[in-house]
Symmetry: C2
């Protein structure tokens, strides 16, 4: 996914380790989460309140309105998050936000408070912010200008904000429907009664996909009836004599008495009070993507009464329960925070979409349907097929099942499996046919209680529909007839497209086999080997092919770093893609001249800074050394280095966009010691685990053993240095030597796996300094 | 009411008379209406389709978008009408329009059609217009650019447009919700199904009264399902890099698939077709000021099926029936057109507000209530109390009764009688306490079946509430304590305010007497004589008084012509107001030094061009001579001159803003031969009627005789010149000599009144050349 990187410190420093073990048994795991991780360095995560996979998220919005207090402004550059730790000008809490994405969307319905006379211009009522606290399901901040403490918590579909007016006196609640992260515009709102408003705002220009629009409905209830309330609207400017007559033109017009619908590009609702010192006013907000009625129903169902503390407690409990699926012992405070925050970020998206009555907007059509399983949305599948869904299948298989069921429902509703789905709309962001991979991967892991016949039909549609009718594979004809996609336009990402089709078709081949469709399996397996067309002996890399069958010349393999456009590749250069044949690493190695040449070339990616730790095409590269046992120490060294360098307990502690959890999933797998470098294949590359002991509680509906324990001795007692290498591990009574890959079933059924670690690795043996 | 005048030709030319009598018996009266009268010279009437007092009016909108084809642009100057005969750039048909007002409002929901590729920018799809035809309840125009014939007709609450695509091929229907005459902004709309949309647009900054806002709801049904349809929205402009990424920024974005609510400042809906040559597509539109549901209910009730011809026929029949209340014989073609068009304009406002189910928005509150009688809206009472309501009481007493009942309901709902009410909102435009006058006048005329107790209570509220709580009389305290309103701010219109209070209180005194409230009657009669405070012996005129009791110095009695601001007077100068004491003309004459001085001074108003025929304060001046029988020939001469000069069968044929019928009512009364120069008093000034014979069909619920016939011989057979003078008239067997005023009951019960006309009048006898 698109991101813009801050320059990163290249130096690799040793971890500062805590000296004694951590007794985690009585401590709450939610206390190990630092929601500020990822809120700088373009991580684009949010510190606000959300429950696991909740539709509602409420987060501070601080990316507009003050060049003085803000380092970044949403309108001055590519910007995709409502909050950054780099900024200090608070405009309110936005309701429903995307976490870890690279394109601006949502981040609207912005509720705030102010003290003093009513002023509805957010550049005026916005305030310097301080004393931020964030905890799963809870966030608070001090609004310095107004001496207001602002706190928020959330349920699945609702939020509640508490504004405490420390000084009392003139006080205002402000609901801003004009400001927002989305580049769409226009809202409508009306008073349902004195204390309740309902309305909707248009969203959806994600990644500047102009047609993936949808409406966010909301219902907002104020805890105290306001003596004065009304709307505001920025009036269009007038010119000449008209401008003299209309005192509101070009300004925020205040409507103190009008109560029916108001609509416009930049509108809002205000409530004014005379508060007592220390008085708290609460704002309860329900949202829906179906209707105003459902937004209100969600609100009255999930918050039948006003009880901020109870909502917060429930939110915390839901996180505690979700996180406790993995219990770790040992590691440093920072490592635990990094780990549990990554797990927290894994559980943001996809999030549920259905209302409390089961209704949701159907894929594409915007018609309403009712679901029996959780209906999910926000499928950033190009990112998440690689590791998020495999990890969900391991830790939360029932969620993963509902996600697959949702994908099949989307096919039934919209005619296609999703690619980058957002609130019922296909944004067609990124490339490939990723749903195939997710569904096969899920099935291969033993989560099979979905409609496999329908799934196969759906997969075949993307894999076989010719011509322009193929919405998922726009270059299907070329791909099917030639076995590759030629470069037909300068920046058509043709090689990236084809590489995604190969891994998708390899998965489809696996699934076809499982379904007993031998001929299909052969066809798709054959297609999956088409990557060889791109192999250029001259450079030893994958290289774009022109329509006449010749390689693109000139060819600059390093062109394309940092999202620089380059022919044939999307968000990367040839180095970032040339090893992306996860289903045939041995075949690729052979093509590249054998193991030695392959390994040297792969190592050079890291040595010559052609590795991008913040984008998906190459994130499994570190694990590819495990295919060659003698070289597996490189995996162990590199993952240790990457974890240490890029994953930190601080706002900039994610290497770039979290990509709806893909970066976090990389960290989780890498800290646990195994990685699904080829999704759909049940083989993991292994690396040295981070913690002394990890207990994964497995769902016995899908896994034989209730737990998988991973034991390690990662810290050397004498030197206090990290033992980042291993050559041996043990399962039961069986000792594995020089084995660096393991099968899924074997691992899941192990009960316990013990890694024997050491300070040195490789030949000649080396250490990390 | 505010208007801006075009320079008027000063010359007075004789009427060109048709040589033979007109047999009107078989001809339809609707054919005598020319809806283009008043559509230039700031008459601000509309040529479009409307039924008598209908909520719906649909009219061509041609006041924006083309400096080349339009002489006037709504945004370049004070402009208050959706249409002018001076312009030729058609942007569509606006639904619900104000007729004859001086401030911009409504004129929105603009439906049009285009040929060729879809272009939603009205400056592009707008077209030169030609071949206009207007007839009561029907209007058609040729859209030259697109070779489309566009026709409209209306029911009470709905309209239907017919667009005939002469060439066929690519064809579009466009519903523009951004463009409009109103200075408010913002609309919302959604597809109910493929062929039906519903939504609302905010209205209400009438006369730049910022808070008198209200929503206009609409439901629009297209006769043919469109193969392609969707929304558009003008996207807010972006700057810098964002502007490069978002191809829609600052432009009209097209939404071809999205179907749920869309909201914004400048939005619209389009339907695209491939039509056959000559194919007609119909657009049926219902409106409501209560809800979308009611707009749809109005549509499905009043147009259960699509039948343009039937709707047109019904509209014409309703006009024919309404106009046939007065049947004229004789007169020129132009005179008949002027007369029946004035009668047509009399029946535009107030118009009904309630939906087919009786629901309407309550006064001020925007809550919904249900009415049993017709609920009226658009009360321009400062204009209409003088002659519109007296005329309605004579010709359409049941309508007038419902209008009074509505005013009393407004008092019950909003706490105050109306002043300038617009769609349930009090705009507080102009001054005075005009409802008192309307209600008393109605009662005095014998229309008494309303709640007089409530009426009296309501009247007293404005007349007795002290301080700032008095919403109708903001300067009540001064007025009550001093007997006049001193000038406290430069342009506070203080004298105009007080003059309005005097005539209101004189009416209240009459009503109090009728209610048996003697003491009250005395109090208000005393107040009504307070005008004497303003009489300045030095200038012989009414003159502003400063808070210290002294007259304003310097004082420029002629300052204030043509709406030039001037201290103490509103929309006029001291000359326009100094005779405005209609309830005590004899007292005023005494003050001014007796009959001779009074008459000379009054005559000088006309001679020195201090008379404004296009605004209300002085429009009864011509009739004041009738108080002095020897001078009544002046009335006859002046009304003849004014009718001839300012009322013409052409677009500029109303002297200025029609003021929701006040100018038209002046013409009707003047052509009939009598005028209510003091509303509330049942005494008329007489002048020479225009037609050979007029038969007024009276409502026998209120009037003893079913008809009143007015016979005249206005044309001299020998010279073919108009006999504009009379000194004698006859009722039954009684001949009245040198009598120029008549009592209401006497006239209404006359059965027949015959005027004996002559070519010369006055002493010495004079003629008009």
């Amino acid at each position: 996914m698109k991101l813009t990187k801050l320059p990163l410190v290249a130096a690799l420093s040793l971890l500062v380790l805590s000296s004694n073990a951590w007794a985690q048994s009585t401590k709450r795991l939610i206390d190990e989460v630092n929601p500020f991780i990822g809120t700088s360095n373009f991580g684009t995560t949010n510190p606000g309140a959300v429950v696991p996979n909740g539709l509602m998220s409420i987060t501070p919005f601080n990316v507009s309105g003050s060049p003085e207090l803000n380092k970044f402004d949403k309108d001055k550059r590519w910007w995709s998050t409502p909050y950054t730790a780099d900024n200090k000008f608070f405009s309110g809490f936005s309701h429903v936000n995307l976490s870890g994405v690279g394109c601006p969307e949502l981040g609207s319905i912005i509720v705030s408070a102010s003290a003093g006379d009513l002023d509805v211009d957010y550049t005026h009522y916005g305030s310097a912010m301080s004393e931020e606290k964030a905890h799963p399901g809870y966030y608070s901040v001090q609004l310095n200008k107004h001496k207001i403490k602002a706190e928020v918590t959330a349920t699945q579909r609702t939020a509640v904000s508490a504004f405490t007016f420390e000084r009392g006196g003139k006080s205002n609640i402000l609901v801003n429907l004009g400001l927002g992260l989305t580049n769409e515009s226009g809202a409508t709102v009306r008073f349902l009664n004195d204390s309740t408003i309902v309305g909707s705002k248009l969203m959806g220009t994600f990644c500047y996909a102009p047609q993936a629009v949808f409406n966010q409905y909301f219902a907002i209830r104020i805890s105290r009836r306001a003596p004065a309330s009304g709307y505001w609207k920025k009036q269009p400017p007038m010119e000449g004599v008209e401008a003299e007559w209309d005192k509101d033109q070009g300004k925020y017009k205040i409507y103190p008495t009008y109560r029916k619908e108001i609509s416009g590009n930049d509108i809002g609702v205000w409530f004014s009070y005379d508060t007592k010192p220390g008085e708290t006013i609460y704002v309860q907000t329900g949202v829906s993507f179906v209707s105003e009625e459902n937004a209100l129903l969600n609100l009255t169902t999930e918050q039948p009464k006003l009880d901020f503390a109870a909502v917060r407690r429930a939110a915390e409990d839901s996180w505690e329960k979700a996180l406790r699926v993995v219990e770790v012992e040992g590691g440093t405070t920072d490592q635990r925070k990094i780990f549990y925050t990554a797990l927290y970020h894994l559980l943001i998206h996809p999030n549920i979409l259905q209302d409390v009555n089961g209704q949701y907007p159907m894929m594409g059509s915007l018609q309403t349907a009712t679901t029996k399983h959780d209906r999910y949305t926000v499928y950033s599948l190009w990112d998440t097929y690689r590791n998020v869904h495999p990890l969900l299948s391991i830790l939360y298989p029932r969620k993963q099942l509902a996600m697959v069921e949702t994908m099949l429902d989307m096919y039934k509703e919209g005619g296609w499996l999703p690619k980058w789905e957002l609130y019922g709309q296909e944004t067609f962001t990124m490339e490939g046919d990723p749903s195939i991979i997710v569904i096969n991967d899920t099935w291969q892991r033993g989560i099979r209680d979905f409609d496999t016949k329908l799934a196969y039909e759906a997969m075949l549609k993307g894999a076989t529909t010719p011509g322009k009718d193929n919405k998922l594979r726009p270059d299907f004809d070329d791909y099917a007839s030639r076995g590759y996609v030629p470069l037909r336009e300068k920046f058509d990402n043709s090689v990236s497209h084809a590489l995604e089709y190969y891994i998708a078709d390899w998965n489809l081949s696996q699934f076809a086999s499982a379904m007993g469709k031998k001929k299909d399996a052969q066809l798709f397996a054959r297609r999956a080997s088409g990557y060889k067309h791109y192999y250029d002996k001259e450079t030893g890399l994958l290289r774009p092919i022109l329509p006449d069958g010749k390689f693109l010349t000139p060819f600059h393999p390093t062109l394309g770093r940092d999202f620089e456009p380059n022919p044939g590749f999307h968000e990367g250069n040839s180095w970032n893609y040339s090893f992306y044949v996860p289903h045939d690493i041995r075949g690729l190695a052979k093509l590249m001249g054998g193991e030695r040449k392959f390994v040297d070339k792969l190592q050079s990616v890291f040595d010559k800074e052609n590795y991008d730790p913040a984008n998906e095409p190459d994130i499994a590269y570190p694990y590819l050394f495990t295919y060659f046992p003698k070289e597996a120490w490189r995996t162990q060294r590199i993952t240790s280095q990457l974890l240490s360098k890029y994953y930190r307990n601080e706002p900039s502690g994610i290497p770039g966009n979290d990509d709806t959890g893909a970066m976090s999933a990389w960290a989780i797998f890498s800290m646990l010691g195994f990685y699904p470098d080829c999704p759909g294949s049940m083989s993991y590359g292994l690396t040295t685990p981070t913690f002394d002991k990890v207990t994964i509680h497995l769902d016995t509906k899908y896994y034989k053993n209730p737990t998988l324990v991973i034991e390690t001795r990662p810290v050397d007692e004498h030197t206090n240095r990290q033992r980042i290498y291993f050559d041996e591990f043990q399962i039961g009574n069986k000792l594995y030597k020089n084995t660096y890959r393991i099968n899924h079933d074997e691992l899941m059924n192990a009960g316990k796996i013990t890694f024997f670690t050491k300070l040195v690795g490789g030949t000649p043996e080396i250490t990390v300094d």
